[in-house]
Symmetry: C2
């Protein structure tokens, strides 16, 4: 294993990759993955298709890389809350807020994730595409595992209602993902307003899992 060689990603080429991913995410999110061509993405970039192919082997690879980028962003945003000390409820609240904010800030990427998981756009996937997808599934599983663990801890210590853990996890994650469907940023929206939205969604997610107050 060497860190040199033609496949080494230089900072400049990393920038170009990010630029391509951003253009792809924007067009995929707006028009749907299947209706968007590499030609359109190249045009958006003011570049040739060759430039895209230099960095990504196919549209399917580009789609998966958009998704992986999205999951990486979410993971980085949520991990500090997961690793923080304190009771499970407090950590879940912090994770939930971070999840919603990260999603609002990077909405196009997350819309592509939803399309990838939902739209059937991966049906008929080739072997290579299947491998990309397996990679992505592993990443989202690792992401969800943080929420699963903190929920399990809350049920264990009694601060959260003891109920089916998988249903709880899926329900909470879906509520936290909901803004990807309904959130449309206003041009004059303030950071305080964005925080308020994240706060309300996090409060609702907590309410869905916390044990009722005694009395």
């Amino acid at each position: 294993m060497t860190d040199k060689g033609p496949s080494m990603t230089t900072p400049a080429s990393a920038d170009v990759r990010c630029e391509i991913l951003r253009a792809a995410a924007t067009l995929f999110a707006a028009g749907g993955v299947s209706a968007t061509s590499l030609d359109q993405i190249a045009a958006e970039l003011g570049a040739t298709k060759g430039k895209i192919y230099y960095h990504f082997g196919s549209k399917a690879e580009l789609q998966t890389e958009v998704c992986k980028y999205s999951v990486r962003l979410m993971h980085m945003a949520v991990a500090p809350g997961f690793h923080a000390p304190g009771p499970p409820g407090d950590r879940l609240r912090r994770m939930a807020r971070a999840h919603v904010l990260a999603m609002m800030c990077n909405r196009p990427y997350h819309r592509v994730v939803v399309q990838t998981y939902m739209g059937g756009s991966t049906s008929g996937a080739s072997g290579t595409e299947r491998a990309f997808l397996d990679d992505l599934i592993q990443m989202t599983d690792a992401y969800a595992a943080m929420f699963r663990e903190v929920l399990a801890q809350g049920m264990e210590d009694g601060s959260m209602r003891r109920q089916n853990l998988s249903i709880t996890l899926n329900s909470v994650l879906m509520m936290l993902n909901a803004p990807v469907f309904w959130y449309h940023p206003r041009p004059d929206e303030t950071e305080a307003e964005r925080n308020g939205i994240a706060e309300q969604v996090a409060d609702m997610a907590l309410g869905a899992v916390l044990s009722p107050a005694p009395g």
Copy 2:
């Protein structure tokens, strides 16, 4: 207005329509709308494409009719809880349970609704397709309005937390819709198990909106 004439839907032709809708929903849900052809649906039915075209003008019309059928089923299931007497929390719980059960029982139809709203498969819609879609949006709006009203009543009487109503509605509906993503019926699943799932999801939705118990 007359109830006779060539466009009258006879019981037999209504059955055929339902059969076509069921085949379309099953294939659309499994393989994605855009990847499914009318030929495949005809093959599934053991019929010709002509039979489908006799009842539905286009694939887009078939897709929208699958969705409308889905929303109609949900509306019928949820309306009794909405119109029931009693406090908003009790009515919401009944509506939530009915929503989840109806969705679990008619999963393929609901997956098509999700694809239609999410997958970008309606981009580039023609005028006629746009009209179908407007119709569908009106129906889902009327459906959501039942939940909006009961949530507003709960906030009004203080039994539910006073917070942004649209965010509350969207979050609750998304949590209630989540089973369409994660629910896969087991062949040996009992009615009691299905009821248990619906019960847990309804409990979580209630927890997300109810005011914390005083004390």
